[in-house]
């Protein structure tokens, strides 16, 4: 204790490893609940998590791991994508050959591209499933409306990322898929054409040209798609993701019924009151959050039902990440990402198909580009966005289908949705449509009355019928959501598997005429 406070340069130097570590990790070993909480709390990346997690949220059935799965895929895609960027050359002359070289001679290039591709496809699937999970467990309800909207934004961004990436290999598949996609974007022209006002008002042409930077798909489109794909959209996506996760916390963690179902038995605890009163809660480092007088953040409800996020939640997340990586790698090792001939504007692909997740749209577009490409997807997205605002029933969130009645309605709606979508395809395939019946019919009729619009109207009518019968907006929401989901799957299946050259109907690909 001679000169206790006197530290010298040399002592500082000697202590450098420990002081440095101390600045990096600001807590002790995570061997107590408190230390664990601090671990989560004091780490930028971990503090997106609550310090404690409700036991229910840890169960597989609560989330089916879909959110973290999607995030894992996003991380995998970002990492492989950055690596691919080192070799990809975004110009019309070099793009295709650089992808060929990535495939053949870049060390590990082939597996990187394959993983990037399959993870991207999986991500579209995962986002859709995650949305369905959130919807069916009623997790979009107040106060989570905003997060539902953010989720829809993420869905659109995911599709945009997939679509912009589709063009980059600059092969026939990419070129013609994007040509189709761009024409769908420009399909408002169909309506203006029908009214004969395209010369003066041409929103379709405008969107198309803004998207492609030219009349057709060419070098300008390639560089635009590249910039969107590697910079604009990923940054936007990361931002949205951050807010999305932050909202999950601010909205009180995963949606769950208030009086929770713990192993102690349903209703064992008095309804509406936490199992442990806050004043009896263990001393925890709530910090500022204790002072906030609101139900947000709602982390301190029933603390007895919670466990430290570290390690219980973290371990689950790491497991999901590793499992996703394994899945993507195995897919990438077994199946090469497609790469066809170099893009050639003179030789159209037949059939020229958009990426699979747009094939449902392409099926609708085959009836009317404007309705199928703009109005119906627009209505569907708007409908999705409005769901939490139109359905404001106070029901326990976190219960799938909100009970047995919802399950029944979902079942009926599934059958109805599949049948109607099948009819919407089968009738035109077997009997033709307006143009076959009345050859000189005005285009406006074709736009207004086509299988796609009728299908949409049928779904809406069904949902209204459910609303009238059950007098429950939640049930009506389940009905229309299920219908659209069923329609999406049926049309996507038809578009990808049953449509051949000239968009003709074939029962199997082996029946396609050889070119």
């Amino acid at each position: 204790m001679g000169q206790p406070e006197q530290t010298t340069f040399w002592q500082n130097l000697k202590r450098l490893p420990w002081t440095f570590w101390g600045s990096l990790v600001r807590h002790g070993k995570p061997d107590t609940d408190r230390a664990r909480s601090q671990t989560v709390f004091s780490n930028l990346f971990l503090h997106l998590h609550p310090t404690r997690t409700h036991i229910r949220s840890l169960r597989f059935s609560a989330t089916m791991a879909l959110g973290v799965f999607t995030l894992s895929l996003f991380v995998i895609i970002v990492v492989t994508g950055v690596l691919l960027m080192f070799y990809y050359k975004p110009s019309v002359e070099t793009a295709y050959n650089s992808v060929k070289d990535i495939h053949y001679v870049v060390p590990l290039g082939r597996i990187m591209r394959n993983v990037h591709r399959w993870a991207a496809h999986l991500m579209v699937v995962a986002v859709l499933l995650h949305m369905a999970r959130v919807f069916y467990s009623a997790a979009y309800k107040q106060p989570r409306e905003l997060n539902w909207l953010l989720g829809i934004g993420l869905l659109v961004t995911t599709l945009a990322l997939s679509f912009t990436g589709y063009l980059l290999p600059w092969d026939q598949l990419a070129y013609w898929a994007v040509t189709i996609g761009a024409n769908i974007a420009g399909s408002a022209r169909e309506l203006t054409d029908a009214f004969g006002i395209t010369q003066s008002v041409d929103p379709g042409g405008f969107t198309r040209e803004v998207m492609l930077g030219s009349r057709g798909v060419g070098g300008e489109a390639l560089i635009r798609f590249y910039a969107l794909h590697v910079m604009v959209l990923p940054i936007f996506m990361a931002l949205l993701l951050g807010v999305h996760f932050w909202r999950v916390r601010k909205d009180g963690g995963l949606a769950r019924p208030d009086a929770d179902v713990t192993h102690a038995g349903k209703g064992a605890a008095p309804k509406g009151s936490p199992a442990v009163k806050p004043e009896q809660a263990p001393t925890k480092t709530y910090g500022l959050m204790c002072v906030v007088r609101d139900r947000k953040p709602a982390t301190n409800l029933d603390p007895a039902d919670t466990v430290p996020s570290w390690p219980y939640l973290m371990r689950a997340e790491v497991l999901i990440f590793v499992a996703s990586l394994v899945v993507c790698m195995v897919l990438g090792l077994l199946f090469d990402a497609p790469l066809k001939e170099a893009a050639n504007a003179a030789i159209p692909e037949n059939p020229a198909k958009a990426p699979w997740y747009f094939l449902g749209l392409q099926e609708l577009v085959s009836y009317s580009a404007f309705m199928g490409g703009m109005v119906i997807p627009g209505v569907a997205l708007l409908g999705l966005a409005l769901i939490p605002y139109l359905d404001r029933e106070k029901e326990p969130a976190g219960v799938y289908f909100s009970g047995a009645r919802g399950k029944r309605i979902a079942g009926y709606s599934l059958v109805f949705g599949v049948v109607m979508a099948t009819l919407a395809v089968a009738i035109p395939v077997s009997y033709g449509w307006l143009r076959n019946w009345v050859p000189d019919i005005n285009q406006i009729w074709i736009i207004l009355v086509n299988p796609g619009t009728l299908l949409t109207l049928a779904y809406m009518a069904w949902s209204l019928a459910v609303l009238r019968t059950t007098r429950s907006t939640r049930m009506a929401a389940i009905a229309i959501f299920t219908c659209f989901l069923a329609g999406f799957f049926v049309l996507t299946y038809v578009g990808s598997e049953l449509r051949g050259p000239n968009w003709d109907f074939y029962w199997s690909k082996s029946a396609w005429p050889t070119h």
């Binding site: 408190r34 690596l83 870049v106 590990l108």
Partner: protein
């Protein structure tokens, strides 16, 4: 003070958790190694470093020839054939043949006809490149392989 306020007893790191951490750490190292490996290409998008110079009888003793597209300088003397790189050893400019030797346009290094540094910042003599013969007898130069100055190749 209630007993619940005491920290939870946490079991020591189990074998399982160590095994899990271990495999993951190993996989992480593997993934990192793969990513670094990806950045070092197998082949470059340029003509091969090893290229054919010509038949030996195209270079009788006394020949002095610059091959600009390869940035090399071929000398043939009774001792054999040698190839000197025209890339300056200072910072990689291409030196220009001058009256007696080579001048570097960038920072004024000067070399004698055998590539030795006469003045300027160049740290070492111009590189002598390996000359060899292909199976069909033609002379090959490998721009990636350096030999000691005054190494003459005799077929």
């Amino acid at each position: 003070m209630s007993e619940r306020l005491k920290p939870d007893p946490v079991p020591r790191r189990s074998f399982l958790s160590i095994a899990g951490l271990g495999t993951l750490a190993l996989a992480g190292v593997g993934a990192l190694a793969g990513m670094v490996r990806l950045l070092k290409p197998y082949v470059y998008p340029e003509p091969m470093a090893r290229f054919r110079l010509g038949r030996p009888d195209e270079f009788p003793p006394g020949t002095v020839k610059v091959v600009p597209e390869r940035s090399i300088y071929v000398i043939s003397e009774p001792e054999g054939v040698a190839v000197i790189s025209l890339v300056c050893t200072h910072l990689g400019c291409i030196v220009a043949p001058a009256d007696k030797g080579f001048d570097c346009p960038c920072h004024g290094s000067r070399f004698d006809p055998k590539g030795r540094v006469l003045r300027g910042p160049a740290p070492r003599a111009l590189l002598w490149l390996e000359v060899s013969q292909a199976a069909d007898g033609s002379l090959m130069v490998d721009a990636n392989r350096e030999v000691k100055p005054n190494t003459w190749y005799r077929g």
